[in-house]
Symmetry: C2
């Protein structure tokens, strides 16, 4: 297929490279910043551009992977002269309705966290697709299936909960790592020593439900340890509050599961 | 070395099996519950017992791996006739002072989360040791080095912070997974779809500091998405509070790092 990428950030970069490697042709890459467009275009043998009006008028699909806050404006500009083209956006948190009156539109949400530094194995990624019309849905599925066997159709309304769940499992879990690092660094201890524990905790839930896998002072209802640990956080009221509410929530989750 | 295990729970089981595989001799295993003692003893060719007074009077080291709440009482009973023996406990959250006047005592804390279901690769685990006297510290180091190249001496006072950091990185991260599962299950979505994201998030911090690795609505200061996600949690005030405080904490962490 011929694909135009509107956006050259982390998601666009990983996705464009994976689709290129999967045999698709990336004809053009847009970014507001020409150096970003050039960097990605160079990797997938596409034409870079920092002007939406200079993009091809036709492609099998236009994949929009830009900041949530500018998506609406980008759609409105991209539509001019491309009213009959197929547009897909990649934002987990934005409903399909962002496309307004554009007919052939849909969503292509690869549920993964993408960083500049690290390659992503798309074959393990679950991709959630949606289409306003059957043709767009079918096209989104075809593109997705070149990358992953885990392709699911999901409405915008349900995708809100998926994205919320991802914020807990990914963003908040990562912040727990960051708080852990902060505690360690304040005491000259190496964050590196925490890595086997982090890895094991993540791997464990591949075979054991996280409710069953829960360990620690709160899971043991060990008030002595919890009180002592809260006291260690006396100089950081916010971290102390996080300790407190997470512990309470662990206890309630286990109680309700008993 | 000849080792007696006092305790046959998860930590004791993984540790005894790893030490046995590493060439040590486990002479006896105690558990209050004889079937637990027998189960572990059977795996490491030791003598099971549910009576502390029936344990050997001598060994190179007695490893105490029992519930935090009963550790003090178990030490006091084990000491009788074994005043000159070497005792090590495995509890991250308990200071060495729990041994009272016992002379040859120390701590052997393998920082990992252990589950019944899953084998643990000790070579990746960081082990934190402490000894009241040089001989005990030396012995703890020798035992630890048969399992892992990552052996660190750490005082009880500093270990409190290490353990606290582990609660954040492991217990609280796992609870984030549990909350994610709860959201997914309430909407008929498979928790399994979250696993590649969980794995990637954990692996990423092996090469990128968690503060740098932070993504998501809070990291983007995207108030629209945060407000919308909080609204989705309206029927669960506690989860909403967790969402709120974690998001604030992410923003403050990134601000202080800018």
């Amino acid at each position: 297929m011929e694909i135009v990428f509107v956006g050259a950030g982390r998601v666009a970069t990983h996705l464009a490279k994976a689709l290129y490697a999967g045999g698709h042709r990336i004809t053009a890459v847009y970014s507001r910043t020409i150096t970003s467009a050039e960097a990605l275009a160079g990797e997938v043998h596409a034409t870079p551009s920092n002007r939406i009006d200079a993009l091809p008028e036709k492609a099998d699909v236009f994949i929009l992977s830009v900041k949530d806050s500018v998506l609406k404006d980008v759609i409105s500009e991209l539509r001019k002269g491309r009213e009959q083209q197929v547009f897909l956006h990649t934002a987990g948190s934005i409903p399909m309705s962002v496309f307004g009156e554009h007919q052939h539109c849909g969503v292509f949400y690869p549920m993964q966290t993408f960083s500049k530094e690290k390659a992503v194995d798309f074959s393990r990624v679950h991709i959630f697709i949606e289409g306003r019309d059957a043709g767009t849905l079918d096209l989104a599925r075809k593109v997705a299936e070149t990358l992953s066997a885990n392709v699911h159709e999901l409405s915008s309304s349900e995708r809100r909960y998926l994205h919320l769940a991802a914020v807990f499992a990914c963003n908040f879990a990562n912040h727990c790592y960051a708080l852990s690092a902060q505690i360690l660094e304040a005491h000259g201890l190496p964050f590196e020593s925490m890595l086997p524990l982090i890895r094991e905790t993540a791997e464990k839930v591949e075979t054991v439900h996280p409710r069953e896998a829960q360990t620690g002072p709160a899971a043991r209802r060990d008030e002595n340890v919890m009180d002592a640990q809260k006291a260690l956080l006396a100089d950081n009221p916010q971290m102390q509050q996080i300790y407190d509410i997470m512990s309470k929530s662990i206890i309630e989750t286990l109680n309700s599961n008993d």
